[in-house]
C-alpha cells in the first residue's frame, strides 16, 4: 500500500492555501476559496477531473478507506446534483410566482375588458410569460348559445414573428408594459389581422361531443395532439388553426362558462408539454374571473348609462309637464276671459264700423273712428291667437316635401319680409326624404318664428336651410341680427312673457306647443356672441309620431 507523496497529487485539495491560476475551476469572484480548503474541496474539487484522478490513484493504492471515499464522493455528487435541480426548480417556481403575482395584481385591479384581455393574451404569448406563439380567445355568447372568436394575438408568418419578437426583446418592457403597449397600439389591428379566423371560430355550446365544449364542461385543460385526425374535433376547426397540437384552456368563473383560450406554437412548433398546460391552467382562473367581472362592469356601466338617459328623459318630461301645466293654466285663464273680452271688443269694433259707414268722407272724426275699427280688429286678432293657443289642436299628419314646406312658409310672409327690407336666403337640401308632419301647423310655426325674428327690425338677413340629420330632417333658421340673454331666451318660449327683443312670447310658445303635439322638437340657441338659431327636427317615419 503506497500512498502518493504530497507533491504528487494533481488537485489542490491537500493544500490550505493556493494562488489564483493553480485551480482551473476557481474564477474571479471565487477568491475566498483560495484560502478556505474545506469549502474549496466541497464546492470545486469534488467535480474536478484532477481530483477524480487523485481519487483513482488512491483507489489503486489499495488503501481500505479508498472504497469508502469513492462511495462518499459519488453519493455526495448525486445529492449535490439533486440539490441543484431543486434549486433550479425553486427558481423557476419563484419566477412563476412573481409572474402570477404581477398578472394577478393587474387582473384584480382592472374592470376594463380590453385591458383584461390584453393582459391575458399577452401573458400567454410573451417570452416573459408562458411563451406560446399564438393565443385565441373565444367568449361565450349566452344569447346565441355559442362560443365565438373574440380576440387573437400572435404572428401569422415567420417574418412577422421575427420582427415582433425582436421589437419585444429590444423594448425591455415588463409584462404589464407589454400588455399596455398591446392594448394601445395593437388591439384593434390584431382583431383585424385574425378577422378571417375569429369569424369562423364558432362552436355551438350544445355540441357536447366537441372537445372544446367538453373541456369547458369538464373544466379541464386539454393538450390536443394529432388535431387533423381526431374524431372529436371537426377537421375544419383544425385547418382553421393550422396546427396539429394546441392547448385548450377553459375559462370558468364559479359556475359560469366565460369562454376558452386556445394557445399554440404555430411558428416555432416547440413541443407543448403537460407542464406548459398546468402552468397556464393556474393562470386561467383569475383570467376567467377578471373577464367575467369586467363584462359585468361593462354591463353595469351600460345600465348606469341607460338609467342616466332615462333620468334625463324624466327630467325633460318633468320640465315639459311643468311647461304644459303652465300652458294649461294659461289656456284655462284665456278661455275664461276670452268670452268676456271678445264680446265688448266686438261691440266696440262693430259699432265703430257702423258709425264709420254712415260718416261722410270729409268728416274729420272719420279718422278717429277708423282708428277704433283698426285697433279693435288688431285686438281681436290677438284674442284669436290666444284662443288658438288654449284650444286643443289635433295635428293631421301626412308625408310632405320639407323644401316645399319652407318655400310655402316663406311665400306666405314674403310681403312682410320685403316691407322690412329683410333678406331670406333659403338653402334647400338635396335628396331629402319626405317628412311626416301636419303641413298647416308646421308651416304656421315656421312663419311665426320668421315673423318674430324680423319683428321690429329692418334690413336684416336670415338664413334658412333644410338638412338631413340621421333619419330626420332639420329646418334651421339662423337670425344673424339679434342677441338674446339667457333670460330673454327662456322668456321667449314662455307664454305671456314679454321680451324687449321679440315681443310677446305667445307666438313662440304656441309654435312650440303645436310642434310638441307632433313630437317635433324646437331647439332655440342664442350664443352670447350673438345670433339666434332655431332648429326644428322633422320626423320622416310615421312610427315617430306620438
Amino acid at each position: 500500500m503506497e500512498i502518493a507523496a504530497r507533491s504528487e497529487w494533481e488537485c489542490c485539495w491537500d493544500r490550505d492555501t493556493i494562488v489564483m491560476g493553480e485551480c482551473p475551476n476557481i474564477n474571479p469572484g471565487d477568491e475566498d476559496l483560495l484560502t478556505s480548503r474545506s469549502r474549496r474541496l466541497l464546492e470545486k474539487c469534488v467535480d474536478c477531473e484532477k481530483f477524480k484522478r487523485d481519487l483513482a490513484r488512491f483507489r489503486e493504492s489499495g488503501h481500505p478507506l479508498s472504497t469508502v471515499f469513492s462511495v462518499l464522493h459519488n453519493d455526495y455528487r448525486r445529492q449535490k446534483g439533486q440539490i441543484q435541480a431543486l434549486a433550479g426548480f425553486l427558481d423557476t417556481k419563484s419566477l412563476e410566482m412573481r409572474f402570477m403575482h404581477e398578472l394577478g395584481s393587474v387582473l384584480q385591479s382592472s374592470v376594463d375588458l380590453d385591458e383584461v384581455l390584453s393582459v391575458a393574451l399577452t401573458a400567454i404569448t410573451a417570452g416573459k410569460g408562458f411563451g406560446m406563439n399564438r393565443a385565441f380567445l373565444l367568449l361565450a355568447d349566452k344569447d346565441r348559445h355559442i362560443l365565438k372568436g373574440h380576440l387573437a394575438i400572435g404572428p401569422r408568418t415567420a417574418e412577422e414573428a421575427g420582427r415582433t419578437w425582436h421589437e419585444v426583446d429590444s423594448g425591455d418592457l415588463d409584462l404589464q408594459g407589454l400588455a399596455q403597449n398591446f392594448r394601445a397600439t395593437k388591439l384593434s389591428s390584431e382583431r383585424d389581422k385574425f378577422h378571417d379566423i375569429l369569424d369562423r371560430l364558432v362552436v355551438p355550446l350544445n355540441d357536447d361531443q366537441h372537445l372544446i365544449v367538453r373541456a369547458l364542461e369538464e373544466r379541464q385543460p386539454l393538450l390536443v395532439t394529432d388535431a387533423f385526425h381526431r374524431s372529436d374535433l371537426d377537421i375544419e376547426f383544425a385547418r382553421l388553426l393550422g396546427v396539429d397540437t394546441f392547448l385548450v384552456l377553459p375559462l370558468v368563473s364559479r359556475h359560469r362558462r366565460v369562454g376558452v383560450i386556445i394557445a399554440d406554437n404555430f411558428i416555432t412548433h416547440r413541443t407543448i408539454t403537460e407542464q406548459d398546460m398546468h402552468s397556464i391552467e393556474t393562470f386561467t382562473f383569475p383570467v376567467a374571473f377578471a373577464i367575467e367581472r369586467a363584462s359585468l362592469y361593462e354591463r353595469v356601466q351600460e345600465e348606469v348609462e341607460k338609467l342616466k338617459q332615462a333620468n334625463l328623459r324624466l327630467q325633460d318630461q318633468q320640465e315639459q309637464l311643468v311647461r304644459m301645466e303652465k300652458m294649461a293654466l294659461v289656456g284655462r285663464i284665456t278661455s275664461s276671459i276670452a268670452h268676456s273680452i271678445r264680446n265688448p271688443l266686438m261691440v266696440i269694433g262693430g259699432f265703430a264700423r257702423s258709425i264709420l259707414k254712415s260718416t261722410p268722407d270729409n268728416d274729420p272724426k272719420r279718422g278717429f273712428i277708423g282708428s277704433i275699427v283698426t285697433e279693435a280688429q288688431q285686438l281681436e286678432q290677438v284674442l284669436g291667437e290666444i284662443l288658438t293657443y288654449s284650444d286643443a289642436l289635433f295635428p293631421t299628419c301626412d308625408f310632405w316635401n320639407p323644401n316645399q314646406l319652407v318655400e310655402t312658409s316663406l311665400r306666405d310672409i314674403q310681403e312682410r319680409v320685403v316691407s322690412q327690407d329683410y333678406t331670406c336666403h333659403f338653402h334647400a337640401g338635396e335628396f331629402l326624404p319626405t317628412v311626416y308632419i301636419d303641413f298647416k301647423q308646421t308651416s304656421y310655426c315656421i312663419r311665426n318664428i320668421l315673423l318674430s325674428t324680423i319683428d321690429g327690425l329692418q334690413n336684416g338677413v336670415i338664413d334658412i336651410s333644410t338638412v338631413r340629420s340621421g333619419d330626420q330632417v332639420q329646418v334651421r333658421i339662423v337670425d344673424h341680427n339679434r342677441r338674446l340673454s339667457e333670460e330673454e331666451l327662456e322668456a321667449l318660449l314662455t307664454p305671456f312673457t314679454e321680451t324687449c327683443e321679440m315681443g310677446s312670447g305667445l307666438n313662440m310658445a304656441l309654435s312650440r306647443s303645436m310642434l310638441e303635439k307632433q313630437n317635433i322638437p324646437l331647439l332655440v340657441v342664442a350664443p352670447p356672441e350673438g345670433g339666434v338659431t332655431f332648429t326644428i327636427t322633422l320626423p320622416t317615419r310615421k312610427e315617430d309620431m306620438p
Binding site: 278661455s335 276670452a338 268670452h339 271678445r342 264680446n343 265688448p344 271688443l345 266686438m346 261691440v347 266696440i348 269694433g349 262693430g350 259699432f351 265703430a352 264700423r353 257702423s354 275699427v373 279693435a376 280688429q377 281681436e380 284674442l383 284669436g384 284662443l387 288658438t388 284650444d391 286643443a392
Partner: protein
Amino acid sequence: MSRLLVVDDEANIRLLYSEELHDEGYAVETAATIAEAVEKLEQQSFDLAVLDIKLKNESGIELLQKIVKERHDMPVILCSAFSCYKDDFSAWLADSYVVKSGDLTELKEEIKRVLTKKAQRRAAGL
C-alpha cells in the same frame, strides 16, 4: 223679407246684430235667454236663427238641439268666441259656424249663403 232670430245674452251684441242685419234687409228679432227664444219661436216663424253658444248659465247647443228637433226646416248659424264647438258633436247639427267678430262681413255672408241654400232646397221640393 227674411226673418231672423238672434239669440245672445249680451244686450249690446243683440243691438249691433239688429242694426247691422236690419241694414242688410232682414227683419230681426232678438232673445237674451233660451226661454225667451223658445217663446218667440212658438209665437212667430223665422227663416234662420243666429245662436251664441255661451249664454250666461245656459248653452246655445241645447237650443240648437231643440230647434233641429222641432223646427228642422229652420237653419241655424252658431256664433261664438270659442272654437271648441268642434269638440261637441251636437254643434255639428248647425248649418254654419262663425267666430264672433266686430267685423260682421263673415256672418252676413253666411246668412246669405244659408238662406240661399234653404231657398234652393225648398224650390227643389226637399
